[in-house]
């Protein structure tokens, strides 16, 4: 019987091999994949903490494929945005997130959809992980009415339930995040607020005001500094007296996390969320990550760093490759599966692009809507005394 089974298996595999081109892989049994594995992850540097997140992370097959899907979708979406920008279909400002996908995916894996998140302008990744479809994101970038903010916000102003954007002014979102955390504490709903900012914003005064308030009142706020080593074109050494961003909260405990490893980010974010939910007050996480593109689409990204540096990060620490290699080496998935996912995502992004380029722009009436909240129609003065538009809100 054993021999018979082996023969059948080989025959089966042969059949599958022959039909590879027609992608009959679906009929292959997935029973021979490892359902779960444990991986070693980097230990986090700690500040004012006795112990940190675990150094081993468990990953199930489903989780792994989901993280892969999330990160690959963000990657493809950002590359598509790059393409559309160069074709002048997207205009204005566009700050791309490729290279940093592990941060968004890892954080989302660790928090609940009912938790809150706020970030700065490099927000497309978080907009996706917080539940907005690629279609709506791309349509917002192209300024169409199908966009998540009705086409009125653009790249830096995308919002979703429990996702507060998308903020253009550097550092301005951090006091907001502390405020959201206060609301969570006040309402006693056991939710936390994840407040993200970059290494450039870490030198803004309002952050330190927020740290003080959060620590004083023990707000459930996770401050996360996404340190991608460059504040626009200025490297961290030239901008900050102390580049240990996880220690900058001084009296607030902190961790420094490898932001290119989605499992590391997930474990650290889980640890931080537990810390806040236990009522211990705020915590700071520094995610050491990297962006492949320049600061924005008008920045080639190579005048302040070398191409070799970018290449090195791409080849050694790319978050998507790392996850894929881990899963493949532990036989948690097959190369074909990943290829299938890639093809699906490509199609999804293509469809979204099609929508984003063909959807009409918002109507002119929208220019004046939603300035104030008003019950009777508000008249908005226009460029001339006789031209007034009606504002609905």
């Amino acid at each position: 019987v054993q021999n018979f089974i082996t023969v059948m298996e080989t025959l089966f595999q042969l059949v599958v091999f022959v039909f590879q081109g027609a992608r009959v892989v679906v009929s292959r049994s997935f029973a021979d994949f490892t359902p779960q594995a444990t991986f070693d992850i980097k230990k986090c540097d700690l500040h004012r903490l006795e112990e940190g997140p675990p150094v081993k992370a468990e990953l199930t097959r489903e989780q792994g494929l989901q993280y892969y899907r999330t990160m690959q979708t963000v990657r493809r979406m950002e590359l598509k945005a790059d393409q559309l920008y160069k074709q002048k279909i997207i205009r204005g400002f566009c700050h791309l997130y490729d290279g940093q996908e592990a941060c968004a995916a890892g954080i989302e894996a660790a928090i609940n959809p009912s938790d809150h998140l706020i970030t700065a302008y490099r927000a497309h990744g978080y907009t996706y992980t917080r539940g907005v479809s690629v279609k709506e994101i791309l349509a917002e970038l192209t300024g169409r009415r199908g966009g998540v903010a009705k086409g009125k916000g653009g790249s830096m102003h995308m919002y979703a339930p429990h996702f507060y954007g998308g903020n253009g002014i550097v550092g301005a979102q951090v006091p907001l995040g502390a405020g959201i955390a206060l609301a969570c504490q006040y309402q006693g709903n056991n939710q936390v607020c994840v407040t993200l900012y970059g290494d450039g914003a870490a030198n803004q005064g309002q952050l330190f005001e927020s740290y003080n308030m959060a620590a004083l009142w023990k707000l459930p706020c996770i401050f996360i500094c996404e340190n991608n080593k460059y504040g626009m074109g200025t490297s961290v050494e030239r901008a900050a007296a102390s580049t240990d961003y996880y220690k900058r909260g001084d009296f607030i405990p902190g961790l420094r996390v490898d932001g290119m490893d989605v499992l590391c980010v997930r474990e650290a974010a889980q640890f931080a969320a537990d810390h806040c939910r236990a009522g211990k007050g705020p915590i700071i996480m520094e995610l050491q990550t990297y962006r492949y593109h320049g600061h924005s689409m008008s920045d080639p990204g190579v005048s302040y760093r070398t191409r070799e540096e970018i290449q090195e990060v791409r080849s050694k620490s790319d978050p998507i490759s790392m996850l894929k290699e881990r899963m493949l080496s532990h036989n948690m998935a097959s190369v074909e599966e990943f290829k299938e996912i890639d093809i699906e995502i490509r199609k999804q992004v293509e469809d979204a692009t099609q929508f984003a380029t063909s959807d009409p722009e918002p109507p002119l009436e929208e220019l004046c809507n939603h300035i104030f909240s008003n019950n009777p129609l508000l008249e908005v003065r226009g460029t001339n005394p006789w031209s007034k538009l009606k504002s609905v809100s």
Binding site: E361, L367, P385
Partner: protein, 361 residues
Amino acid sequence: SAVAITGCACSRTKTQRRHAAHFTFQPDPVPSQYGPTQKMNLFQSITSALDNTLASDPTAVIFGEDVAFGGVFRCTVGLRDKYGKDRVFNTPLCEQGIVGFGIGVAVAGATAIAEIQFADYIFPAFDQIVNEAAKYRYRSGNMFDCGNLTIRAPWGCVGHGSLYHSQSPEAFFAHCPGLKVVIPRSPIQAKGLLLSCIADKNPCIFFEPKILYRAAVEQVPEDPYTIPLSQAEVLQEGSDVTLVAWGTQIHVLKEVASMAQEKLGVSCEVIDLQTILPWDIETVCKSVVKTGRLLISHEAPVTGGFASEISSTVQEECFLNLEAPISRVCGYDTPFPHIFEPFYIPDKWKCFEAIKKMINY
């Protein structure tokens, strides 16, 4: 062009049509009284002014975000190499810190030229400017002052700036006695006015129209020269309508003036206010007494925009000379929009229509 944009949604091709600028830059004639000139655009004329300042004033320092490599608009290119890194240096990302620091430098006696990367980012520094810089001399009974401070910031719409890279905040600062607010329309004016601001013994805010950085090219004198502050310039004499604006909008109004002459036979007097605070009341009123009609135009929202101050003062001074209500053609009372910019800005058609209504009042 406004109609074309509204009706075109279905027939748009894959590659977006380029939005044409809403104005045509009209260069001034070459000045002969300041010595040899060189072709420069707006950012080069700013660099030239800063170069002259660093050369003649050993206490002058330039600082701001990214000024060391030349600045995001290339206004400080070459200065660090020429004058050293202790005179041209970067600050971290902290506007409140930059201005506060600049006030300190100025009070201690050095000439401080601070750059705020975009006028939209000046608001964290608003407290320092309004509460500290503007009131220093007054509150110390003239014992201290920060007249050595000049703040420069790129200003105004640029075609794709949307909410946070297009604002014109001059009206917020016009409300603050103790400050001077200056906005040039062209490279020649920019260099002269900037040098005047630096020399002026009061804290000055110098807004540079960012859309003109590359678009405006003129023959600018190489040697330093100053253009007096608080003096409006009459660019074109006329007898029927007075048009007042500053910065980019001047070029729109110049076109409107020629349109009015051609199509309506109306002769317009165009005035560049140049200094917003303290503004040249006399020149504007003298002109309105002559023409009887006034149109003021700016990109900032109409409610509380600086046109309201001009309008109010002119009706006080020249009430009986007015033939028609004063017209303000300004931006809508909305945040500066992303996709709606072509509709939002007070372009030449809106100004032209305003003139027509005034003439037929």
